[in-house]
Symmetry: C2
Subunit: 374 residues, 2 copies
């Protein structure tokens, strides 16, 4: 699978007529660590541009393709082109029915499925029951401010408009609905410095952190049902630091907590909850991202769930589906990647799962086309 | 007071006939940050060597002078030549009855008193009731392995032999007996990493630190009377750290504690106490130094206390007196320096206190000389 290994100096070429497995390998072999996606975006834009029936647009390293078939409903297929840093896991390698390599799971196998659907629709082989928008974007693996989908949502929200979004983030072939919100906050505990030989002259900020840690240890996270899906929350210290010198009573202790919250809470409600849990302590929110309600009560979303396997679970994690949810668009996570292998040096994707997901996705897009407007 | 300011390129000259205040200024003006004491040690050695009645020895940057008067008792006067780094506080400066400058308090005013006594004894002006050993040493302000007194104690313990040691560390003109021991230990708390969106798959090491901090917060330190002096102990966290990433359940948390213990406990007993306080947690001793019993029950020590002011308090801190105590030699801290000004940019010493301490010290050394063997 390494015959089309990336030529780091020249443009990369993608042949969309190849199988999803071959396309995944080709995509993996184009290095695209966050911030360095120009080459892969060029390759995607060039390949997509060969289909005159699609309108194609480029915004930075985001590539957007659309059908304009006049269907009453529109589905977005969205995936990011970037990966975490290479970990000695390039070029791609096929072994025992799995394709190995950086991004194989998260999420170049998902991008390969986007491109397979695009090739079949663009060439007229598949007549979809819905209009389609493909979003290929950059910088998902880094801070939100750089995220390509975030940028497009802020500057060109019309591009995202649809009746359903399918984000091809790893779900191991399952359908996962909505996503948890996430908020990080810092607790600052103050003390008074003194020489540790005369500690009674000071006030130890690390000791004063005891009740904060005890509240965290005692905390019982909620399990919340939202639209039939169960979201399990979590509240955890992710960092603690304090100390001045080996002979000084510390005058400060900082604890960073991460709260993962169910879609029944807004960011404001999440913050209010944290302030209640840590009442009496100084708390500052560092960053947050809203949860996404699954939004699966709408007919198109229900058709998607049925076609993609019939079962749906809550996404226990934050993904870009929240950006669609914020625009009122129901959004699902669905792809062959294994979330437990994401960001690992031994990242891989099972080719049988890839093929199964391709068939389910094509089946969904084809479903109802006999009663469609085409 | 800056007329003899250091000539950084040539040798420094000390005139021991000057007053203690002038000598302090001269010593302050010879820069001698730890590790860079050759120039001040040369100056001390040259000045001391002018007295043929004293035997003088040089071991690295340690200068040792001795009388051999055949007295039945011997007193050591010990002081370090080094300072913490200069903080824009050179050259020395006289203002409102105080001499300002790096080391003025800790402890060049003490060294000036050592040299004043040496000049009076060496010239025959003062006939002391005891034999005397002067120890001027390097690297007190840095790690124990570099400490000049520590090195001499290990390699030439005979040099330290005496019936009483007076260490001229800052005590604000009081007599302080013995010193506390100090032990640092690290508590390691383990957990299991997991993504913070699925925190129930992991085990949070920071949360598991709650009982350690609670035990520290609840800890009631002992006040222990040893040979009539009250030592107040302390047990404190001085560092805490834990955390992997903002979205990862931390698998480790390290807490460093500092235990200051009274001279009724050995280092082994101090460690056993820590293991008892933190039972159930993994603990490793990082470093320790023994406490020093005041040893003030001996007649010479009692005469010293009476002559130096009549009052004695426990030293709440660790000093090199412990090195004498370890050899069975009673040791006192006594000098005009203010411990609360040590290591500060605005370090200074009160000249009236300096003169008072000089008179008390000379009075003690003279005391009993009428009944002495000379």
């Amino acid at each position: 699978m390494t015959t089309t290994a990336a030529q780091p100096s020249g443009p990369a070429v993608l042949k969309l007529s190849r199988s999803a497995a071959q396309l995944t390998a080709d995509l993996v072999d184009i290095e695209s660590v966050s911030g360095d996606e120009a080459r892969i975006a060029d390759a995607v834009e060039a390949a997509v541009g060969r289909h005159a029936s699609l309108s194609v647009r480029r915004l930075g390293n985001v590539v957007i393709a659309r059908t304009e078939l006049g269907r009453p409903e529109r589905v977005v297929l969205a995936g990011h082109l970037d990966t975490v840093p290479i970990a000695g896991n390039l070029p791609s390698r096929l072994a025992e029915g799995r394709l190995h390599g950086c991004g194989a799971s998260d999420m170049k196998s998902g991008v390969a499925l986007q491109l397979r659907v695009l090739e079949l629709v663009g060439s007229g082989t598949l007549k979809p029951a819905v209009d389609l928008t493909w979003l290929f974007y950059d910088c998902e693996e880094v801070e939100a401010a750089r995220n390509g989908l975030n940028r497009v949502a802020a500057e060109h929200p019309d591009v995202l408009r649809a009746d359903l979004a399918i984000l091809l983030e790893p779900t191991n072939g399952a359908v996962e609905g909505g996503c948890q919100g996430t908020m990080r906050a810092q607790l600052s505990i103050a003390g008074v410095r003194a020489h540790s030989a005369r500690s009674w002259l000071g006030s130890n900020a690390i000791h004063a952190a005891a009740p904060v840690l005890q509240r965290l240890a005692d905390y019982r996270a909620r399990e919340v049902e939202v639209e039939g899906l169960t979201y399990r929350e979590g509240l955890n210290a992710v960092f603690i630091e304090g100390g001045v010198a080996g002979n000084v009573i510390p005058d400060g202790c900082l604890i960073t907590v991460n709260y993962r919250f169910a879609p029944d809470r807004s960011e404001a409600e999440a913050e209010a909850h944290l302030r209640s849990v840590f009442s009496g302590f100084e708390l500052a929110v560092l960053d947050s991202a809203p949860a996404a309600r699954p939004g699966l009560d709408r007919p198109l979303a229900q058709r998607a769930v049925a076609a993609l396997g019939g079962e749906v679970a809550a996404k226990l994690g934050w993904t870009d589906v929240a950006r669609f949810s914020a625009l009122g668009i129901p959004a699902l996570n669905f792809s062959p990647g294994d979330p437990n292998l994401a960001h690992r040096a031994d990242e891989s994707v099972e080719l049988a799962q890839l093929e199964r997901c391709e068939q389910l996705l094509l089946g969904f897009l084809r479903s109802g086309s006999e009663s469609g407007t085409n």
